[in-house]
């Protein structure tokens, strides 16, 4: 829009080193008022570090940042916020014990301690309405689920009335209709005096909002230019987009659901695969007398007053892979948590290999062979990668542990390279691999994968789904909960669509993909 004139923010020669590791290397950035800039790149490319460097949370090793001509390189984060830089955290960090409203007050009162109370309340109400949090104003932030916490992050950043807005993956995990709302929100924030930076893996947000885009790879700027050109670039496709780029391009028709998992090195022979993966996969039980591995009948579950699951019937036999789809708030994660015992069902029957386990504690259900790869990864930050893995195999003998470790390292070689590093020091994609590996270490009979692709680069999602395909070929029973419909359907034998706590649709993936109701459910429930 207004690309001429002086830049609002000008960063030059930014470098961030952690010991020998260079997270950001000589990155230059110019943000002009009235523009929206997209920053994309693989996990671990340094995108969040860049946000941290501009916002002041991370001190730069080298380089300068000027805001409106004023050098802010040495300013603390608080001073930069007061100068007009608002940011969100990729993993939301609300003040959990405060209400949503008080979370905004922090920003308001810190920049304007003597603001008129009525005016402040009006501003808060307007912000909450814009971010769709009006109904939650008096709730403690702790009560908000992940996606609403992300909205609170945006609201808090906007409460600073910033001139630079840095949005770090605020679109992750949203369904189409919610993305449309997000895009509307971002556009409404954009005015001729504000510059916005969006770090995002949801390519639609970048494509529809950003006039210019930057691709980071290994801490350096790979390419910068108009968004359409960047997306069409071959190099970008190679390091970042993967097959996701192709699907994005062909997504308009919405029917590209062939199981086109390209043959990876692992998939040469299912028999070989089974042999390598066998330490991770429980032997099939003969004793259960044909009872299905998992059986749910009329399962209901609720959080306090809110009834989330309203009668779920589900049967899974050994070796099956099923996909559970649905809009946010439909109850997908609740279903996963109910199966793994984190939530006790209020009514209904939950059987594992014929044994009724409704209401049993999670560790008991884990003993029966159910592993849960939880949403948000839940890596133990104080443990190393190897320790994170071993903690899931405490009852196994040392030799069995080593066999399983070898199999996990075979599945994800990068974990072997990083085995002595802290679990959370790795990139998001590597952490997700660790979370998957950890779920497998217990040698489970069934694994629930909850939103494993959340916040990951398309090329990393490809890798994860290749790994899941390997596991399936080797005979593992899988439940995949996923926002990315195409990937989930490509993997599954059978798919269920959750809608308001019941299965609104179920069937073979091919039928589900072709069913117009799928699209309707995704778009219809979110508003």
């Amino acid at each position: 829009m207004n690309a001429s004139g002086a830049p609002l923010l000008e960063a030059s020669g930014l470098v961030k080193r952690y010991g020998g590791l260079v997270a950001i290397n000589e990155v230059d950035l110019e943000l002009h008022p009235g523009t929206i800039t997209g920053v994309i790149g693989p996990n671990g490319a340094g995108k969040s570090t860049l946000i941290g460097l501009i916002g002041g949370a991370i001190p730069a090793t080298q380089g300068s940042i000027r805001l409106n001509g004023r050098d802010i390189s040495r300013l603390a984060a608080s001073e930069r916020a007061r100068a007009g830089i608002g940011r969100t955290y990729q993993i939301p960090r609300p003040f959990l014990d405060m209400t949503v409203e008080e979370n905004l007050e922090v920003a308001q009162y810190s920049i304007a301690p003597f603001i008129n109370a009525t005016l402040a309340r009006e501003e808060r109400d307007a912000l909450l309405a814009r971010t769709g949090l009006s109904d939650a104003a008096r709730l403690p932030a702790r009560a908000l689920p992940l996606l609403r916490r992300k909205r609170l992050e945006v609201a808090r950043a906007l409460a600073l009335k910033p001139r630079i807005v840095l949005l770090d993956e605020v679109g992750a995990g949203l369904v189409d209709s919610e993305i449309t709302e997000l895009i509307t929100l971002i556009r409404s924030v954009a005015d001729p005096n504000t510059a916005i930076v969006i770090v995002e893996h949801v390519l639609r947000v970048v494509r529809e909002c950003c006039s210019r885009s930057i691709v980071l790879n290994f801490g350096t700027k790979l390419i910068e230019g108009p968004t359409a050109e960047v997306f069409a670039n071959d190099e970008v496709a190679a390091v970042y987009l993967g097959t996701g780029g192709d699907r994005e391009l062909g997504a308009a028709s919405g029917t590209s659901t062939e199981a086109e998992a390209e043959a990876s090195v692992h998939l040469e022979s299912p028999a070989a695969e089974r042999r390598v993966m066998s330490p991770l996969i429980a032997t099939r039980s003969e004793s259960s007398g044909g009872a299905p591995l998992l059986e749910l009948k009329g399962i209901c579950a609720s959080y306090g007053q809110a009834r989330v699951l309203k009668g779920i019937d589900l049967t899974i036999r050994e070796g099956e892979a099923i996909a559970i789809l649905g809009a946010n708030g439909a109850g997908k994660t609740t279903l996963a948590r109910t199966i793994s015992g984190a939530i006790a069902p209020t009514s209904g029957v939950l059987r594992i290999a014929g044994e009724d386990v409704a209401g049993q504690p999670p560790h008991r259900i884990a003993e029966l062979g159910i592993a849960h790869c939880m949403e948000g990864r839940r890596i133990f930050p104080t443990l190393s990668v190897k320790e994170n893995l071993l903690i899931a195999a405490r009852n196994a003998s040392a030799s069995a542990c080593q066999e399983r470790l070898d199999s996990v390292y075979d599945l994800f070689p990068v974990l072997a390279e990083r085995k002595d590093h802290s679990g959370t020091s790795m990139s998001g994609g590597q952490q997700q691999m660790l979370a998957i590996g950890r779920a497998l270490m217990a040698r489970p009979r069934l694994v629930i994968f909850d939103e494993i692709s959340l916040g990951l680069a398309p090329v990393v999602m490809d890798k994860l789904y290749e790994a899941l395909m390997v596991l399936k070929q080797a005979g593992m029973t899988l439940i995949v909960i996923e926002q990315d419909v195409d990937r989930a359907l490509a993997l599954a034998d059978h798919a269920y669509v959750l809608e308001h706590g019941v299965f609104g649709l179920s069937g073979k993936p091919r039928e589900i993909a072709a069913d117009p109701r799928l699209r309707h459910i995704y778009i219809g429930t979110a508003d």
């Binding site: 002041g56 603390a76 608080s78 955290y89 960090r93 003040f95 922090v106 810190s110 600073l160």
Partner: protein, 313 residues
């Protein structure tokens, strides 16, 4: 709504102050002794609650500022014959100044490390007092002039407790409250909202230390003689901490309930000092296990509908 509940709270405090002002005319000597102790403990507990409950700075350095107040008050009164009110004002200044002086080092430490740092500070000051003969060394110093009679001291303690309570009310019922809690919950995220965490913590630390130092001065004046082991003793820090945990950390009424509880328990078991320590320990364990938000938090949970009013009152 916030301001009105704040004003109501100030009203309650002032009414209680006026009522208690006349206590010496009807309470006996024993009653006054007990009330004096409750008021001193209340002042310490309110200050500690501001640090730990509202700002997230768990301190074991209460004794450091109690002792500092005691020595400053005695030093000024003995050497320059300073009147007591002025001496106490100097205690506040000294307490605040020491807090400001040590904060660049202490605030580099977060969480438990900060706690250990404050403990080290208290021990450091005690060792200095023991070893420097100008401050009386290990045997301490006497107040050369006669201390005021008990009813007068009671009024001093009452005024100090009122000042502390009003200061805490000002912090807890105003816009400062969200800023303090933001720093407590997540310093980095607060900074990203424009809050200056260092200044915020410094402000709370200075205010709290100044109040503790005044209380130390009043307590010392009542004793008439001080020595480093008593005034800088770890017992002050432990007592205050357990009072607030018993009452309810971060809750407005926590310090008052805790102070009353601890003093009452101490009196009830005055003849059995060993049993006193053991029973206090058991009570702490039971509370932390079954009522982590203390007595006040427990009562609030029992009566959720009156919760707001209770906190405000």
């Amino acid at each position: 709504m916030k301001t009105s509940s704040g004003l109501a709270e100030v009203g309650v405090l002032l009414a209680a102050f006026v009522l208690l002002w006349f206590a010496p005319s009807f309470a006996g000597d024993y009653g006054l002794q007990i009330a004096f102790r409750v008021l001193i403990y209340l002042t310490l507990a309110e200050s500690w609650n501001l640090l730990a409950g509202s700002t997230g700075l768990v301190s074991l350095g209460t004794s450091c500022f109690v002792g500092l107040g005691a020595y400053v008050a005695f030093g000024l009164m003995n050497a320059f014959d300073v009147p007591l009110p002025l001496g106490l004002a100097c205690c506040a200044v000294a307490g605040g100044a020491l807090a400001a002086l040590v904060s660049p080092a202490l605030f580099r430490l977060r969480g438990l490390y900060f706690t250990v740092g404050t403990l080290a500070l208290a021990e450091l000051l005690r060792l200095i007092m023991v070893n420097v003969s100008a401050f009386g060394g290990a045997s301490g110093i006497f107040l050369q002039k006669d201390p005021p009679p008990l009813p007068v001291l009671f009024h001093y303690a009452l005024v100090v407790a009122l000042i502390a309570s009003l200061a805490i009310t000002a912090c807890a019922r105003s816009r400062i409250s969200v800023i303090l809690r933001a720093v407590r919950d997540d310093e980095d995220a607060a900074a990203q909202m424009g809050v200056r965490p260092y200044r915020t913590k410094l402000g709370a630390f200075i205010l709290s230390s100044a109040l503790v130092a005044i209380a130390g001065g009043v307590q010392a004046t009542k004793l008439g003689a001080i020595e480093p082991y008593g005034m800088f003793g770890l017992q002050w820090s432990i007592d205050v901490l357990s009072m607030v945990i018993i009452g309810g950390v971060g809750l407005r009424l926590g310090p008052l309930v805790g102070a009353l509880f601890v003093v009452a328990l101490g009196e009830a078991l005055a003849d059995y000092p060993e049993a006193h320590v053991a029973i206090a320990g058991v009570i702490l364990i039971v509370l932390i296990r079954f009522a982590p938000r203390g007595v006040v938090g427990f009562v609030e949970n029992l009566a959720p509908f009156t919760q707001k009013k209770r906190v405000a009152a």
